[in-house]
């Protein structure tokens, strides 16, 4: 069992390789650049291809072509680059092609900065590009979890013939942690009889398309896509619960911020305050079950994010007006600290009494 010290960005790359990904098309942007650096070296070693595109528009469309040709393929970027990719992501979603997109988030909007942030939550989970579509979005909270989720990301992409996004903030990309390499999922590639590989040995032509001029026809496509999203919502929600059994105050956080929230929970517990944490691992489909489950004991929720309050909307959607849902967040690449979050949670706790 190999245990190595690895940067988060490198783990995205190694995890992808261990998931059978042989093709990467990308364009440089901080704070994810170690990922293309890593793959530029590693992919040729395994007979794969690293290709630097002229833009994010080109890289996502290279991904589109490679996915149509039946390959396991990936790209990566950060906020501004992901914005440029949204055109391609919408086309890929409609053409129902599998691929994996990594977003190592930085501060926005606009050029923003290169400091860690979680401000692309809306963009990732609510569509992002034009039209009605969704991507499964995975949010690992450690370098080990990146490694563990990359196989799942590619499997989900193939299973649903859909782009999948794996998202982390800049810290997750930059942090170094020990990783067990053999924990990635076993690669079992499913056949892709729909791929455009040339008609040789096949009766019919394969066409990869996202154009349906007849409204009735396009509505049918949309209904089929929606059915697929309902299937994802039924089968693919993932989350972690921490000390929620009897929790009166429940924090919710994703990615690296959840680790800060976990420390806050521990500190509250040592002070005799019954706190707990729900950490969504899939941001889409959003895990509603753990929130509904704790309603019995929980009096209030506190959502902690490195943005101006994005996931808090999904928590409110689940909890409704049954319990208050508070928010604490920092923006602009400012980190939340354990002390800050603890102060906010204590304030809310005091208000409860």
């Amino acid at each position: 069992m190999a245990r190595v010290l690895m940067k988060g960005n490198e783990a995205f790359g190694e995890g992808a390789i261990r998931a059978g990904c042989k093709y990467f098309f990308g364009y440089p942007i901080t704070p994810q650049s170690e990922l293309p650096h890593y793959l530029a070296k590693r992919l040729p070693e395994i007979g794969g291809l690293y290709l630097q595109a002229e833009s994010e528009l080109a890289s996502i469309n290279m991904v589109y072509g490679a996915a149509a040709a039946g390959a396991r393929v990936m790209t990566s970027s950060s906020g501004p680059g992901i914005s440029l990719m949204q055109e391609g992501i919408s086309y890929i979603a409609c053409a129902e092609l599998p691929c994996v997109i990594i977003n190592v988030m930085r501060g926005g909007p606009g050029l923003g900065n290169i400091a860690p942030s979680q401000s692309d939550y809306f963009q990732a989970t609510k569509g992002g590009g034009h039209g009605d579509y969704h991507l499964p979005v995975l949010a690992p909270a450690s370098v080990q979890e990146i490694m563990d989720l990359m196989g799942l990301a590619f499997d989900l992409a193939d299973k649903y013939r859909n782009p999948v996004m794996v998202m982390g903030d800049g810290i997750l990309g930059q942090v170094m942690e020990p990783v067990e390499l053999n924990s990635a999922t076993e690669v079992s590639l499913i056949p892709k009889p729909w791929a455009t590989t040339g008609t040789a040995g096949r009766e019919t032509r394969n066409i990869v398309n996202s154009l349906y001029m007849e409204p009735e026809e396009l509505e049918k496509v949309n209904l089929r896509l929606q059915e697929k999203y309902r299937l994802m919502e039924k089968g693919e929600k993932r989350w972690e619960e921490y000390r929620v059994e009897d929790a009166v105050v429940v924090l919710a956080a994703f990615g690296m911020v959840a680790r800060i929230a976990k420390s806050v929970v521990d500190r509250m517990r040592s002070a005799g305050i019954p706190a707990g944490l729900i950490r969504p691992i899939t941001l889409y489909p959003f895990p509603d079950e753990p929130f509904l489950k704790v309603l019995r004991t929980t009096k209030t929720f506190v959502v902690v994010e490195m943005n101006a309050g994005q996931m808090v909307e999904d928590v409110r959607l689940v909890v409704g007006y049954r319990r208050p849902v508070h928010f604490y967040g920092r923006t602009g690449g400012m980190l939340t600290t354990v002390a800050e979050v603890e102060a906010r949670v204590r304030e809310i706790w005091e208000g409860l009494k």
Partner: protein
């Protein structure tokens, strides 16, 4: 009566949707025939553009992908890099290739991507209603240059063949026209040569085809052919701008 033109296996039985007298149909046929003659139809993947040829996947009798506006060369890159032994071509209009898709076009040439671009230059955006294209001639009236393209306002035509030929990764670049039987024969030769260049793995091959748009030019089909000859060819001279070394 002798039949001089048989159905080519390179095209499906679907009827073209193009306007009467539009030369998109001729260009389709030339590409389809070339793929059949080179015996590569069953290992070809074509990429359709946005524009009047958006439905080309209904016509070419091979695997096809529909791409976003201008992005076909990037999509083709993805396919070719995964399947290097397949024949990959894009079919793009001037709005598609020379406006929104300029970067993608230049960079497949820079990389020497072993794909073939069939570039249909009809000096307008056909599908969206005859607006000015990058290739619109100075003085030419379009729906967005109602009193003729004024170079001082709207700039000068983009000459794609001249632009890409000097690039090291471009192996074969030519400009042809489909306005006369003679030119159509030359166009066919160029298309064949472009695909041969790809099969030899020499780099990017691009054939710019001067084409008509009778509908948006407001001309009858014969008038359109004449307009192409008299107005387009002087600005866009025909010929082979780059041929692979040693390939005479």
């Amino acid at each position: 009566m002798a039949v001089s033109l048989n159905h080519t296996e390179g095209l499906t039985d679907n009827l073209f949707h193009y306007c009467p007298g539009c030369t998109h149909g001729i260009i389709h046929r030339l590409v389809a025939e070339a793929l059949v003659e080179l015996e590569v139809l069953d290992r070809t993947v074509g990429i359709c553009p946005v524009g009047c040829a958006v439905f080309a996947y209904n016509y070419f009798n091979c695997d096809m992908i529909e791409a976003a506006h201008g992005r076909a060369p990037a999509v083709a890159t993805g396919v070719k890099r995964v399947l290097p032994d397949r024949v990959v071509f894009t079919y793009q209009g001037d709005g598609d290739l020379a406006a929104i898709g300029t970067a993608e076009m230049v960079h497949v040439a820079a990389r020497g991507e072993k794909i073939t671009i069939i570039f249909v230059n009809n000096t307008v955006y056909g599908m969206t209603g005859g607006q000015m294209a990058p290739t619109t001639l100075v003085g030419q009236k379009t729906t967005t240059t109602p009193s003729g393209r004024d170079a001082g306002v709207a700039g000068f035509p983009v000459k794609v063949a001249e632009m890409l030929a000097p690039m090291e990764g471009a192996a074969y670049v030519s400009r042809v026209a489909v306005n006369s039987p003679k030119n159509i024969r030359l166009a066919k030769k160029a298309v064949l040569r472009a695909f041969r260049t790809q099969l030899k793995g020499l780099g990017l091959s691009l054939v710019e085809v001067l084409s008509t748009c009778p509908t948006n030019w407001g001309l009858s089909p014969p008038e359109a052919l004449r307009w192409l000859k008299e107005n387009m060819i002087p600005v866009y001279p025909l010929g082979e701008y780059k041929i692979p070394e040693g390939d005479t």
